[in-house]
Symmetry: C2
Subunit: 418 residues, 2 copies
């Protein structure tokens, strides 16, 4: 009985494989015996509040397949967080109005920790309001900081990008160190958890000692020890590759990136821990250096996504629809690791109420004793997640991407004022 | 008659495909009827002066094949430039000593403009000294600024990286612009010529308008016009992607990157035009922004090299050995474009004396009238160079690379003091 419609929305920073999850939600909804039409929130939950609903049934299946290799968020995403019900009752009421107007029985919310919390609240609110909507959270975050799930779709692909880029750049620096750059600093994302910086450690192999230093948010930055280590590495290897998390911080909790650099006009200069580290090295050791900040390039680099990550991203989307169709509510599909070597996994589930407000950081036993690297246990955990090359198809020398119609459903309600 | 040995050396900044050229020189030398052993200068010409010669005959052919997908410089490179013969006669004399000691009849020098000039001087000097060595320059530079050759091996691969990364990041920014980042700034290499920044223009397609602004070293930067344009683009598109060449400069010739930023201790902060541009936008328009500086990542990204570029890189190496074997001297193999659509090319040659001291910049008709983009003629020129995906083989989730023995030949001379 296809009696009700569903809404899918993307939330927070996008990943290189979030559209693979979208593709799975759409394909599985089309197969579901419960779901009639699947709408997508334009620009995420903002679009639901605005009643800007994209009718995904108008997209043809070949375009939906192309989502498997299209970075970005196919329907748009946003950083709008619904507050507590008491604080933003108007928004929850509006959601109910939109759900009722469009006969919505299922809500799929694809995001990080905050979004899972929101999904849970919506499930509760719609139930209490006598118009129950099945809310399924779908995990997604490059930060890999969600609890219960073994890893987060989106993470493995950035980890692969970082490990490969580190190895490639290290070979470059090594071959020039005799007369040119001695120190290379690579800044990667991760404001509170060091999973991404840690993944650079996978670049190490028999013929590559880099990265020599990894700076994690979990380890307090000590300039003196750090400078000493750089000096030692350069003495031994003639070059030094440093991977630093954007969230690296001092003992007082202050981010290195916010250390108060001003431009010539006295304006505060924002961001960039890599140039800060470069300055330190220049001032204390005088080595020639180069630095890179890959920023959005890392999280959108679909051309080098990990096949395992892509498979995870598709699987959680598919499971979300299947769980909803079988009557589940207020849960999130998770990835369950059955075995590390060879890697095997299956899909499980967890109650959304358990997921909220927990941020999974790197455990101490994943960090080397000196705090400048990762342990073998950490490598064993990370390695399966970057396996397989899900090369994207290219067109005219550049990555090929889907081009959706994104046609909006006719509105039935008055405009909503934020 | 394999009566004489040869030396190959890499020079200047390495590329993602310079080792493909090395691979070709080695394989072709092994086939040559003239060349006995091929040595490689450890760390480039410094290694020749130091008599640090790597015996490539000890490497097995499968490792030489792996050079096709190994970034960096397999034998090391350097930025040591030989001055005029009058100014550094000692170095030229030392070269002759090394050449004589190891029975060198052929010298292959793989680099940019300066290296071609050096090769030419060595050819002349060895001839005048009565120990003529056939000197063949082999083109290599990501800057694409060598004359006569249609394009430079190493350039097409970075162009492909930049075009793809621009498209990927643009889709990310676009999908978040409603509530988050509106402006993304991507800094690419190119100190004097804008070829690399220009190549971002290849990301534009039916479903992608980015990059919206390209800042080239060939066009004087005008802050007022630039800020006006950013405002217009954001008004129209809701987001704006800017690709800026590290060599972008003001009317007075000063680089934007050298505009005098100081840190909180009053130290001058070095480099980074992207954060400078970000500051301007923040101060004048207040848009949320992100910026990326890919630095060495771009030029070492072998995983996404262009097949056409890889073919070129191999072909010039092969041709160098064949030209030398057939008695040529003081020339550089070049890439001759026979047709643009479909692209066809062949190898030609040019006298080294002609190549020296010419820097090929972007012609005016390749730059749009307003100076913020590229023309169709430019796209027609660039497009063939990024065609084909020469995906590298991966091992354990990370790019696989060659591991050479790099065993040095026994020295016959006294140490050289620089």
């Amino acid at each position: 009985m296809k009696s009700q419609n569903a809404i899918y929305a993307q939330s927070g920073g996008v990943t290189s494989v979030i559209n693979a999850t979208a593709s799975a939600v759409i394909e599985s909804s089309r197969k579901s015996k419960k779901i009639n039409k699947l709408y997508a929130g334009k620009d995420g939950i903002i679009g639901i509040l605005n009643e800007d609903l994209i009718d995904t049934s108008l997209e043809n299946s070949s375009d939906i397949k192309k989502l498997m290799h299209t970075p970005g968020g196919a329907f748009g995403s946003c950083r709008h967080k619904l507050k507590d019900i008491n604080q933003s009752k108007r928004e929850y009421e509006r959601l109910i109005d939109v759900f009722k107007a469009h006969n919505i029985g299922y809500f799929f919310y694809n995001g990080g920790g905050d979004s899972q919390d929101t999904s849970n609240k919506i499930a509760q609110y719609t139930k209490d309001a006598g118009f129950p909507v099945a809310c399924i959270g779908i995990p997604k975050t490059i930060d890999n900081d969600l609890p219960y799930t073994d890893n987060c779709p989106g993470f493995g692909s950035v980890a692969k990008y970082i490990a490969t880029s580190t190895k490639e750049a290290a070979l470059d620096v090594k071959s020039m160190s005799k007369s040119s750059t001695k120190v290379f600093i690579f800044e990667v994302m991760g404001r509170h958890a060091g999973w991404l910086a840690a993944s650079a450690g996978l670049a190490q192999s028999k013929n590559n000692s880099a990265p020599h230093i990894i700076l994690l948010p979990e380890v307090t930055f000590n300039e003196k020890l750090f400078i000493k280590r750089v000096k030692e590495v350069v003495k031994k290897e003639d070059y030094c590759v440093i991977v630093v998390s954007e969230g690296a911080k001092y003992k007082n909790g202050k981010f290195l990136a916010d250390a108060g650099t001003v431009d010539s006009f006295g304006h505060k200069q924002l961001g960039g821990v890599a140039p800060r580290i470069a300055e330190m090295i220049n001032n204390k050791l005088g080595f020639k250096y180069h630095w890179a900040v890959s920023d959005y390039l890392q999280r959108s680099a679909r051309h080098i996504s990990s096949q395992v990550d892509l498979d995870h991203a598709y699987a959680v989307g598919k499971a979300a629809v299947e769980y909803a169709s079988s009557g589940e509510n207020a849960i999130m599909p998770i990835i369950v690791r059955k075995k590390t070597m060879p890697y095997s996994w299956e899909i499980g589930k967890v109650a959304l109420s358990k997921v909220a407000n927990i941020e999974k950081k790197m455990p101490r036993n994943f960090i080397s004793k000196d705090g400048f690297g990762i342990t073998q246990s950490c490598k064993n955990y990370l390695s399966p997640l970057i396996q397989g090359e899900a090369w994207a198809p290219f067109e005219d020398g550049v990555i090929q991407t889907a081009s959706l119609k994104n046609k909006l459903v006719r509105k039935k309600l008055k405009n909503f004022k934020f």
